[in-house]
Amino acid sequence: MKFFRFDRLAWIFMRVSGFLLIGLIFTHLIVNLMQDGGVKAIDFAFVAGKLANPFWQWFDVTLLWLALIHGSNGMRVVIDDYVYRTGVKRFLLVSLVISTTTLIVLGTLVIFTLDPCPVGSPADLLPSFCPAG
């Protein structure tokens, strides 16, 4: 048995990332769904305020990458189990790789390029630390 076979690495990754994701997602849900007004408190000011803090930036990219890779590797196994036709399987696996890569790039850009105080936006929609006017 080769030590670095893809399936073996994937198996280890699912266990390590799954363990980490429990802490990341439970924290994510407590902060976004339980604290203060729960879902009702989520708006631009809330998210811009969070993402102005490097802690939440790195927290969110870690969550983004781990959740998407863990999830898409899970979907790869599901596709492997149920789809026998080579053409269909190839199509689904290629779609999976493309959509996962796109979302990882998109999400990472959102986290690191968000401007918390965009000019021209009504001040009451922005975080309180934005300069007035």
Binding site: R15, G71, G74, L109
Partner: protein, 133 residues
């Protein structure tokens, strides 16, 4: 990610340990909750990405998450996540230790109890956020 034709299912029912018993139900539930959470995540990264475009657009998108029907959907999502998380821990333990694989059935009931405890703690607060004033 090799593509073989036509491959046999990776997940094999192993006699008494699986079919029709706790082992099978935990496997079915793990797979269904995993797939559901994955599709939520695809949509979720896209809805979060609107925060980068325009504050008013993001607030409008988030408003659709604050309706009673979506509130129930969020409750179902959290139920799926909490089950997937605890059952995933059980899988890791059963793979790693002989003790856990001998007691996998007891551990599965442990997962259900922990799941119920977390949901009882979560639901009243979430439902108050969604339906309360």
């Amino acid at each position: 990610m090799s593509i073989k034709t036509p491959s046999k299912p990776k997940t094999v029912f192993r006699g008494t340990l699986y079919r029709g018993h706790e082992g099978m139900w935990s496997w079915v539930l793990h797979r269904i909750t995993g797939i559901a959470i994955y599709f939520f995540l695809l949509v979720h990264v896209l809805d979060t990405a609107t925060v980068r475009l325009d504050p008013e657009l993001y607030n409008a998108v988030m408003a659709s998450y604050k309706t009673p029907i979506m509130g129930l959907g969020e409750a179902a999502l959290v139920a799926a996540i909490v089950f997937h998380a605890f059952n995933g821990l059980r899988i890791i333990l059963v793979d790693m230790t002989a003790w856990a694989s001998r007691h996998h059935r007891t551990l599965f009931y442990g997962v259900l109890v922990l799941w119920a405890v977390v949901m009882i703690a979560f639901l009243p607060r979430h439902l108050m956020h969604v339906f309360g004033g």
